[in-house]
């Protein structure tokens, strides 16, 4: 085993091994636990940096391990996996800092950080999965690793929320597995290859391929929160803020969306999927979800739930981009994988800060919070404006490419109204929040002020993460044309996918 075959494994192991050690640490071993967490995150960042450089220069990194005859666990770095791995790694580092600040005095920390590391390992594993079989393995591992995180608080609502989450995801997982096995029986191993591998399957199997696609789409749609499979997401909001942040930005929801991208582009092939008439199915599901999520978000007073419905809506932009045939739409969908992650994690960090610092959980309690917590509210505002699609924040780039792609593919007639309606709805549920925070006067007292204003508006470990991610969201928009920006990388993926 040389470095090229070990690198993908090392990227996964750099969070997996620290996680396993953390389980057996004493609760009181604060120092070693934080060192393992941050050390693993930093090491992973370094390894991923090497990987980005190598993949850009057409280097092949692949770990292969046979689990059974004909069934290989393959970790393979291609442009798409590198995009998702980088997103996970950067946001994991930031979220770890945040989680240490958020949870360091609460019970069951060894359990929490152990599963937290497993969760990131599973995400990175499914990002690097080189075939559908490997993807399914890490997809299920992700379910297992996140369940204890959602239930972490141990209140009856938390246990109930976790149970609902598990019910949805395990049923989805079974359907995904059935589709994968069926595909395996028809077409043999299904490695992820740019342009897909199924177009060579004889025509007599095409009806079966359609059924399999629906099975896979439902299995992945549960995690991606496609309507009507989204019911678990608002319930899972009982999780601690860093978990919600991770769930919504990189781990669970994004795993589903990433899976849809993989299945369409690298298993079926986007042209072949279009031939089978499957892109329409996906496109319609995505459009319904985009509008439905936004409408539901309008009426939610709970800040975290409003953000949850916003996720339902925003993640389907990725599915929509996938359903639009043509490189421009592809760029829009894939780049949103990153943009939505950075913006949404900022929103959840900020929401967590409001709750931890001042006890604010509801939109109606946010009057005048901008003056008390300016940096957090500024970060929140940047991300919210980005979600609406205001330039120059990253979200604008995604929507621009999606719109342009729809025009190019001749789908503008129904995609454009959806994009416009969604932007209007995003504005309708985010702008009132911003207005309250900046322009209304604060009430006589905050609901429960846990952390008094000192040198900073809140604890340092809570403040820096949203500031950093908001800056990233702004930078991803402002410097979209710079080399190695998310947009440029998405462009590279699209070019390799379409063989341009």
């Amino acid at each position: 085993m040389n470095f090229d075959t070990a690198l993908p494994l090392l990227v996964v192991a750099s969070s997996l091994l620290p996680g396993l050690v953390i389980f057996f640490l004493r609760e009181s071993s604060h120092g070693p636990r934080t060192a393992l967490n941050l050390g693993g995150a930093a090491l992973k960042l370094l390894l991923v940096g090497i990987m980005i450089w190598g993949v850009f220069h057409q280097h092949v990194y692949e770990t292969r391990w046979t689990l059974a005859p004909g069934l290989d666990l393959v970790l393979h770095a291609d442009t798409l996996s590198v995009l998702f791995v980088t997103l996970s790694t950067v946001l994991w580092l930031v979220t770890t800092v945040y989680a240490v600040g958020y949870l360091e005095n609460s019970p069951h920390r060894s359990r929490f950080f152990g599963f937290f590391s497993l969760c990131v390992s599973a995400t990175v594993g499914l990002a690097l999965a080189g075939n559908l079989f490997t993807f399914v393995i890490f997809y299920e591992l992700l379910t297992l690793a996140t369940y204890p995180l959602v239930a972490h608080r141990g209140t009856p609502e938390a246990v109930r929320g976790a149970r609902i989450y598990l019910t949805y995801t395990l049923i989805g997982g079974v359907l995904l597995l059935l589709g994968t096995v069926w595909l395996h029986v028809i077409a043999g191993p299904t490695p992820f290859v740019e342009g897909g591998v199924l177009s060579r399957v004889p025509a007599e199997y095409h009806p079966q391929l359609k059924v399999i696609f629906v099975l896979l789409l439902i299995g992945l749609g549960v995690k991606a929160a496609l309507v009507p499979l989204h019911g678990w997401l608002p319930q899972a909001m009982v999780a601690p803020a860093p978990v919600s942040a991770l769930l919504h930005a990189v781990a669970v929801v994004k795993a589903g969306a990433f899976g849809i991208v993989r299945v369409v582009y690298d298993v079926y092939g986007v042209q072949f999927a279009d031939q089978l008439g499957l892109l329409i199915v996906l496109g319609v599901a995505a459009c319904i979800t985009i509008v439905y999520g936004s409408v539901k978000a309008l009426s939610e007073d709970s800040l975290k739930k409003r953000l949850a419905y916003s996720t339902v809506s925003q993640v389907s932009y990725i599915a929509l981009g996938t359903a639009i045939l043509g490189p421009v739409g592809t760029i829009g969908g894939i780049v949103h994988l990153v943009h939505q992650g950075i913006m949404k994690i900022t929103l959840f960090f900020s929401a967590g800060n409001y709750a931890e610092t001042l006890g604010i959980h509801k939109v109606s309690e946010m009057n005048g919070v901008g003056r008390r917590m300016p940096a957090t509210t500024l970060a929140f505002s940047v991300a919210a404006l980005g979600m609406i699609g205001v330039p120059p924040v990253a979200g604008f780039i995604s929507k621009w490419y999606l719109g342009l792609g729809a025009v190019e593919a001749g789908m503008a007639a129904w995609v454009m109204p959806v994009l416009l309606a969604s932007s209007a709805l995003n504005a309708a549920y985010f702008l009132p929040v911003l207005y309250r925070a900046w322009f209304r006067d604060a009430g006589p007292a905050w609901p429960a002020e846990h952390i008094p204003a000192a040198r900073f508006e809140t604890a340092g470990a809570l403040l820096w993460p949203p500031v950093v991610t908001a800056t990233l969201a702004l930078a991803a928009g402002l410097f979209a044309a710079a080399p190695y920006s998310p947009l440029e990388w998405a462009d590279l993926i699209a070019r390799r996918e379409y063989g341009l």
Binding site: F23, F24, L25, R26, E27, S28, W65, T66, L67, A68, P69, G70, L71, L73, P107, H108, S110, R111, V136, I137, E140, L141, L144, Y147, P148, A151, H152, R153, G154, A158, V159, A162, R163, L166, L170, I171, G173, V174, L177, L178, V181, W182, H184, V185
Partner: protein
């Protein structure tokens, strides 16, 4: 290498005798002979992997006259599983039975059971198989009654009667075979057996006896009370190994010795009963109020999956696809062995520490014993068949073979059974979260918690990630 065959029977038997002579040192003797037997099992596995099937005629008598021991890939794997599971349970038992008197009563029966298991797995002729089956049944019943409560004795008595009935049916079948062919040697029989009126009644009788012993639905009625009222280390071995031994014989007879006599309809019947076991066992496990009963019903369900392999194997032509599916069957059986043993040991810890195993009242206990709860979770992952457990690979093969042979109904049953397993596993794990007092460290009781953790990890991780050599071994040692 062939000496390992003898050591595997001689070491636990000598240990059993030694514990009778030295009752005070019973605990130490169990561990010592357990370690020795496990090393012999490792040597056997290595030997079969490198040299192919092994054979040892004790005393030099030729086949048909003396006692011959032989091992192929399948039996070597099962001997290895037996060794690891029994060793872990032995370590745990030294903490579970906390007085020397208890250990002295437990030890000889325990090692006798181990002897019987190894002898059964290594026997090459039907009469010896009958003898070992009887020995296994009797020592298992005695161990199951060790708890001493009225419920335990009653369950053990029923277990005894069912076991005797099963052995009698098996013996009746064996005598028909002897009358028809004049030999009981499996290798010799495999060459001469052909489908017809001589074989069918004999195979039916033997199979009926074995199905009773392996608790295939609807012949499972005796299992839940017997397994749920035995002491924890005994339950672990009963559920993981003893029913698996009878299943091994069904496998041996149907897929190997009498393969030519088996019809598609008969295989479909076994599959159907298996499907019934999966659904009924899982459903009852979900309803169970006590942890041990949950685990026992889950065994009924898990055995059902193994029988669902028969109709798909029957439909597949001999070749790589069939080998692949057969390997799936074996890895599923092994995974269940490790997972169920781990689960019963973990339940034992919970029961001893909290004084009960009522699921509804688990809150405090599950939080006070994080490592044990984690062991339950690992076992649960394997029982559900989630990756990276060995059961995931096994179920994958079952699903793939069902798709390939167009028998989609097994797919539906597997999917429902897995979801039910998830439901009963997480019904227990939901109690691990809460605000009860919790320890500063995951593992608090090393000797009691590590065996369950290691067994669970073997089922949920090791077999899944390092299971590939199993297929080579089954092929090489066939």
């Amino acid at each position: 290498m062939a000496d390992a065959l003898i050591w595997l029977v001689a070491l636990p038997l000598a240990g059993a005798l030694a514990t009778l002579l030295l009752p005070r040192a019973a605990g130490a003797v169990v561990i010592a002979s357990g370690l020795g037997t496990s090393m012999a099992a490792g040597a056997l596995l290595y030997g079969v992997a490198t040299h192919g099937p092994l054979h040892n005629a004790i005393g030099g008598w030729s086949a048909g006259l003396g006692i011959a021991l032989r091992a192929d890939g399948l039996s070597a794997l099962l001997v290895m599983m037996t060794a690891l599971v029994a060793l872990a349970a032995s370590v745990y038992s030294s903490a579970y039975f906390n007085t020397a008197a208890q250990r002295a009563r437990f030890a000889p029966l325990w090692l006798l059971l181990w002897t019987a298991l190894n002898a059964l797995l290594l026997s090459g002729d039907l009469f010896n198989l009958y003898v070992t089956l009887e020995l296994l049944g009797l020592s298992a019943v005695a161990l199951a009654a060790l708890g001493g409560s009225a419920a335990a004795v009653q369950a053990a008595l029923r277990y005894l009667l069912v076991g005797l009935l099963g052995s009698m049916l098996f013996l009746a079948g064996v005598s028909l075979i002897y009358a028809g062919y004049g030999t009981l040697d499996l290798a010799a029989l495999a060459k001469v057996v052909e489908s017809g009126p001589v074989v069918w009644p004999a195979l039916t009788l033997m199979t009926a006896g074995l199905l009773l012993k392996t608790a295939l639905f609807p012949l499972h009625f005796w299992l839940p009370p017997a397994h749920a009222s035995a002491p924890a280390p005994v339950s672990a071995v009963l559920s993981a190994l003893v029913v698996k031994a009878a299943f091994y014989l069904v496998l041996r007879l149907w897929l190997d010795v009498f393969a030519d006599a088996v019809t598609a309809a008969a295989a479909a019947l076994l599959g159907l009963l298996g499907a019934g076991g999966v659904l009924w066992g899982s459903w009852r496990a979900l309803q169970a109020e006590r942890l041990k009963l949950l685990a026992a019903y889950s065994t009924v369900a898990q055995l059902g999956y193994l029988f669902m392999f028969f109709p798909v194997l029957q439909a597949l032509p001999p070749g790589p696809a069939r080998e692949l599916a057969a390997g799936g069957l074996v890895i599923l059986a092994l995974t269940h062995g490790f997972a169920k043993a781990g689960l019963f040991l973990a339940i034992g810890v919970i029961q001893q520490r909290s004084g009960h195993d009522t699921i509804r009242e688990l809150d405090g206990t599950a939080q006070r014993l994080p490592a044990t709860t984690f062991a339950v979770a690992l076992a649960g992952v394997a029982l559900i068949g989630l990756p990276p457990s060995g059961a995931f690979l096994g179920k994958w093969q079952l699903l793939a073979a069902s798709f390939a042979t167009g028998q989609w109904w097994w797919i539906v049953v597997t999917a429902i059974g897995s979801l039910l397993a998830a439901a009963y596993t997480f019904r227990v794990l939901g109690h691990a979260f809460g605000h009860g007092p919790y320890p500063n460290q995951a593992v608090t009781l090393a000797r009691e918690e590590w065996p369950a953790l290691l067994l669970g990890a073997t089922a949920a991780v090791v077999l899944g990630l390092a299971g590939a050599p199993l297929w080579t071994l089954l092929e090489a040692g066939a």
